[in-house]
Symmetry: C2
Subunit: 113 residues, 2 copies
Amino acid sequence: MDKLVKYRALIQELLAAYASPEQQIFESGTEEQLIFDTVRDHYQLLAVGWERDRRVFFCVLHLDIKGNKIWLQENSTDYDIVADLVSKGVSPSDIVIGFHPKEVRALTEFAVA
Amino acid sequence: MDKLVKYRALIQELLAAYASPEQQIFESGTEEQLIFDTVRDHYQLLAVGWERDRRVFFCVLHLDIKGNKIWLQENSTDYDIVADLVSKGVSPSDIVIGFHPKEVRALTEFAVA
């Protein structure tokens, strides 16, 4: 499955690039965690820490590979990671927008499941 | 570092046990994902899916190993995973409750950082 090897590498590359220190989204008390489970094919960028006396804990981006497709499960940013996936050669029919209801997915160029 | 090998195995064991199908916390449209990044030492149980027309996406439990200690970063359940860690032999001085402010951590038997 060459395709999946490529998808795995691409997802990790895009999350790592988005998490790079140049972005400086968070204050110093908040850590950006890259979480790559290449066995179960779950990939997440998580923000964890404190900004002064306020707890920070939220998922920035989360993608899975499931049934030979890339599932975007969460995107709390305005970064269009789907456009980046497509521009890097992923077919829209191999991308599922998990947070869209199935009826909505059916109206787009992307996959339903 | 025998201790860390033990901590890694223990965290994965406790999360997997909590995610076991017998618990049946969620409806069938929601998947419980075990996310184990043993390279970066991040461990998460995530709920992802749909309950009828409502999107489900939240972190159930999240633990890290950092600086030879176990950090509990999120617990959205009433499961006392810290008690389980201690009962399995982890010293309270090796556990950091990340979602407690540092001033609060200093007042407990657990570690500040």
